[in-house]
């Protein structure tokens, strides 16, 4: 196992290099840091001067190697837009994104498990059908719409009706105050979790139903096991393997952030940072985010593969 992990880690190095080259070239071809100004208000002299001062007049490979040399020494440079060290900018956003992402992922797994277990226990019952309909409806909803609906219901109308309400996210609040933090986390977490939970619940439900029809479940029942033991110990463990893959695929999202949710709830996370960075051609920031996410993707895949060996003893790596 140790050899396997080492091998996979070493394989990651050329992969990261290739990813960085592709990202760098694509960024250079599609955006221009000068676009962050109103280009037409720049004089021709300004354009020449700024390109030279920002180092954009150098050939692209020179720019790439200059960047790579810095990045290898863990110096991510300065943001072209805000003139702050990229490390500071990312360090400020990352905890917020992880908090939002991890909380919503937890909710996703809980809801998906609850729905799937119930559906397997009482397939095609009224509640199962109802849950299927609701998950399908949420799944097909644009997250933007869901988020705004939540804001209007819980933050705007609840307040107008004199009920306990939640903030819109557009207020001034202190993230160090745990009570305020929880109140501000609820709506973004629900809207972010809603769509993913709906998808995973549908996936897990069909996986559970498949398993429930297999021979070993019939044997387990034949042995006289209680339904709870059949469901949770025998069916769920086998049905959960695809869920682990799905969670593994979701891990990078915890770091990359969610642009739409962050935009609607004014949650300054990595998604917004990345989105703004692209629009501003702020390549030091964008490259940092991209590489961070690539690393997490690779690590998450490795983690998923390893976790298979625990869930399914038939899988072995050598």
């Amino acid at each position: 196992m140790g050899r396997y992990i080492l091998k996979r880690s070493l394989q990651a190095i050329p992969l990261i290099l290739i990813v960085s080259i592709i990202c760098f070239v694509l960024l250079q071809l599609t955006t221009d840091p000068l676009l962050m100004y109103n280009v037409d208000r720049l004089t021709s002299d300004d354009v020449v001067r700024l390109r030279q001062q920002l180092g954009l007049d150098r050939p692209i490979y020179v720019q790439y190697f200059a960047w790579l040399k810095q990045a290898a020494l863990f110096d991510w440079g300065y943001s072209l837009a805000s003139h702050r060290p990229v490390v500071d900018v990312v360090a400020e956003r990352l905890p917020r994104t992880i908090l939002l992402g991890a909380t919503s992922e937890l909710l996703v797994v809980l809801v998906a498990l609850a729905v799937a277990i119930y559906s397997a226990w009482r397939p095609y019952s009224v509640l199962d059908n109802l849950l299927s309909t609701i998950t399908l409806a949420i799944y097909s909803m644009p997250i933007f719409l869901l988020a705004l609906m939540l804001i209007y219901l819980f933050a705007v109308y609840f307040r107008q009706w004199g009920l306990p309400y939640l903030p819109t996210g557009g207020d001034i609040w202190n993230p160090n105050d745990i009570k305020q933090l929880i109140r501000h986390l609820i709506l973004p977490v629900i809207s972010l979790a809603g769509i993913h939970a709906a998808a995973q619940a549908r996936y897990l439900r069909s996986s559970m139903l498949d398993v429930m029809n297999s021979d070993y479940i019939r044997i387990a029942r034949g042995k006289g096991l209680r339904e709870r033991a059949v469901l949770l110990r025998h069916a769920l463990k086998n049905a959960a393997i695809p869920l682990v893959t799905l969670i593994g695929l979701d891990l990078p999202r915890l770091v990359a952030g969610a642009v739409v949710t962050e935009t609607v709830f004014s949650w300054p996370g990595m998604g917004l940072l990345f989105w703004e960075g692209i629009g501003r051609g702020d390549y030091p920031v964008v490259m940092a985010v991209l590489l961070l996410v690539s690393l997490i993707v690779i690590a998450a895949q490795l983690l998923v593969d390893i976790s298979y060996t625990f869930l399914d003893p038939r899988i072995r790596y050598s």
Binding site: R41, P167, G169
Partner: protein
């Protein structure tokens, strides 16, 4: 552990559902107040301004100047007020840096007004009013010299930086040097590159010597100054923390900036003018415009800025608790005719100003204003409507389809079988068909196109709508952008002349984007030596009265030539709780020019 979910040993479905509901309710009730939102989330302001901390200068160091001591001690008295007045402004845009010369984004320009002021300010009637200067320079008071190369500004003597240091003429010189310093990368060095030298005979007199006469001198230092006493030892300001943590001489001081979240401004007691009425102003950045409106409706913010015309119907439903403030701006929507025959221009339209006039006469711009903009704005008579430079004697080209038809008939354009006019030019039958382009996704522009299409059909002109995604339409010249490369007959966008109306950038032949010079504001692609001569004359007219006369002439000339059709003035839209008073927006300065006069009715 989860026994409470069980009934008779089995998990109860209803108990699970009930638990979720209770959880949501408990969480939403957690700290939920049905009265006012929590308004004191951040720590009480400390006596030492943040900017002072960042630059490593302590307040003790400034005690040798009596006036400064007073101001430096004052902040400790602020929290004494029992019920501090606080207000939150919501904006969907956020500045990238906070020092003006490093960017010219409008949001930066607006917010800078609160904490950093220039020589002069511009009020809601778009008039120049003194700020740090004693009076606006004129020829009469000796501030301007007829040769146009010298501007003398007398500074007020009681001005303090928010850290308590006095503001002097040396700070003006320092600001100019920093803009021109090759180690710094400000967005533009124009027009500061026209300054040859700045003389300071005493601490309160600034004499700006120019290399050439420059009528647009009001642009000088309109966005405030940089403090010499804090920054003089720095080789470069690039990537310096000061860019996000500046001080100023305005009515408020910036005490906190959390990127992606908000800015906090506290009243500056050492301000030279009338004392501000509100103690603390937050500017909250809410990246979604829809969420800005929701936050206003929920009461999380008090004032919403940078709203657009399309939000008015929604905002109207929130009256009277919410006040909608609208104002026709100097910014206007325009249809340009392509005047460049080396691109996709229509030769018959380029050749004949009368035909262009007929097109303008065929469009009912008043009905566009009435139907699409709720009658809240104006039809422009030229490029400078609603600015001090407007020629008030000039009327917009009227809506007169009969006369338009007559002009077209006389020019030999006869309606064909489908009603669209045709004419034989050089042995070829030409159809009177004009393509109009803009970027997709702007509903106001797309609705306007449909109305114009119907109007022009009525006088026998085919108006073909061919829109592009905005990434294609507005892309730079070297990326084949439709606008820059002239691949259009007529297109729509908005235009303004900000902060000075010098039209040279928009009408000189040199400002037409080309392969050699891929940027330029002459979107119209018009190259008219007579027009350029007139504009050149206006550039030398350093006296504003003289300059205005030439601008009047330019407007008459443009109205005769009809190189473009000004469609309607864009609306500035703001919304505020009805308890907020003193909001008087202007075009140049948004609502922040008189921030010290804002108040909250108790």
């Amino acid at each position: 552990m989860f026994d409470f979910l069980k009934r008779n040993g089995y998990v109860s479905r209803w108990r699970i559902v009930a638990c979720f509901l209770i959880l949501i309710l408990v969480m939403s009730a957690c700290g939920g107040q049905t009265t006012a939102p929590s308004q004191a989330p951040t720590d009480v302001p400390t006596a030492v301004p943040v900017a002072t901390e960042a630059t490593g200068k302590t307040t003790e160091e400034s005690t040798d100047i009596p006036a400064a001591t007073e101001a430096a001690e004052m902040p400790t008295e602020i929290p004494v007020s029992e019920n501090p007045k606080e207000l939150t402004v919501g904006s969907f845009l956020e500045p990238r840096v906070l020092v003006p010369y490093w960017d010219f984004a409008f949001i930066l320009h607006m917010l800078t007004r609160m904490h950093n002021v220039g020589f002069w300010n511009i009020n809601n009637n778009e008039e120049l009013i003194p700020a740090l200067c004693e009076e606006i320079p004129t020829i009469a008071n000796g501030g301007l010299v007829p040769d146009g190369k010298t501007i003398t500004v007398k500074l007020k003597q009681n001005i303090l930086w928010t850290d308590g240091e006095p503001f002097t003429a040396q700070d003006v010189v320092f600001t100019w040097q920093q803009i021109m310093n090759p180690n710094n990368a400000p967005a533009t060095t124009s027009p500061y590159d026209k300054i040859e030298s700045i003389e300071t005979p005493d601490d309160y007199t600034v004499i700006i010597k120019l290399s050439e006469p420059f009528a647009g001198w009001i642009k000088f230092f309109v966005q405030g100054f940089l403090p010499e006493h804090l920054l003089k030892d720095k080789e470069s300001l690039e990537n310096d923390p000061y860019l996000l943590n500046p001080i100023g001489t305005g009515p408020y001081e910036l005490v906190e900036y959390v990127q992606g979240s908000h800015m906090t401004f506290d009243r500056f007691d050492g301000y030279y003018g009338d004392q501000p009425k509100i103690d603390r102003i937050y500017v909250k950045f809410i990246p979604s415009v829809d969420a800005v409106v929701a936050a206003l409706q929920a009461g999380d913010i008090d004032v919403a800025v940078l709203l657009s015309e399309s939000q008015i119907p929604l905002l109207e439903k929130l009256e009277p608790e919410i006040n909608i403030i609208t104002k026709p701006l100097g910014r206007y929507e325009v249809y340009f005719f392509n005047m460049d025959l080396s691109t996709d221009a229509l030769p018959w339209l380029v050749d004949d100003a009368n035909l262009r006039r007929a097109v303008a006469m065929g469009i009912d711009r008043w009905s566009i204003v009435e139907n699409l903009l709720g009658g809240r704005t104006t039809v422009p008579n030229g490029p400078w409507m609603n600015t001090p430079w407007e020629n008030k004697d000039l009327d917009p080209i009227p809506f007169d389809p009969e006369q338009a038809k007559q002009i077209l008939d006389e020019a030999g354009w006869i309606p064909g079988p489908d009603g669209i006019r045709v004419k034989e030019i050089d042995g070829e039958e030409v159809r009177m068909s004009i393509t109009n382009s803009t970027a997709t996704g702007n509903s106001l522009r797309e609705d306007t196109q449909l109305l114009v299409q119907q109007n022009l059909k009525d006088i026998g002109i085919e108006f073909v709508i061919k829109n592009y995604p905005k990434e294609v339409m507005w892309a730079p010249y070297n990326e084949g952008g439709i606008r820059y490369s002239g691949q259009w007959h007529m297109y729509g966008q908005f235009m303004d002349y900000f902060p000075d109306p010098d039209p040279m950038d928009t009408f000189s032949c040199d400002a037409i984007a080309s392969a050699e010079k891929p940027v330029g504001l002459n979107y119209n692609r018009v190259c008219d030596p007579d027009l350029e001569a007139l504009i050149e004359k206006s550039r030398l007219a350093i006296d504003p009265v003289e300059r205005k006369k030439i601008f009047d002439e330019i407007q008459v000339y443009l109205s005769e030539k009809v190189y473009f059709i000004p469609m309607f003035n864009r609306l500035g839209v703001w919304a505020a709780k009805d308890s907020v008073t003193g909001l008087n927006p202007g075009w140049y300065t948004d609502i922040f020019w008189n921030v010290q006069e804002w108040d909250i009715a108790q």
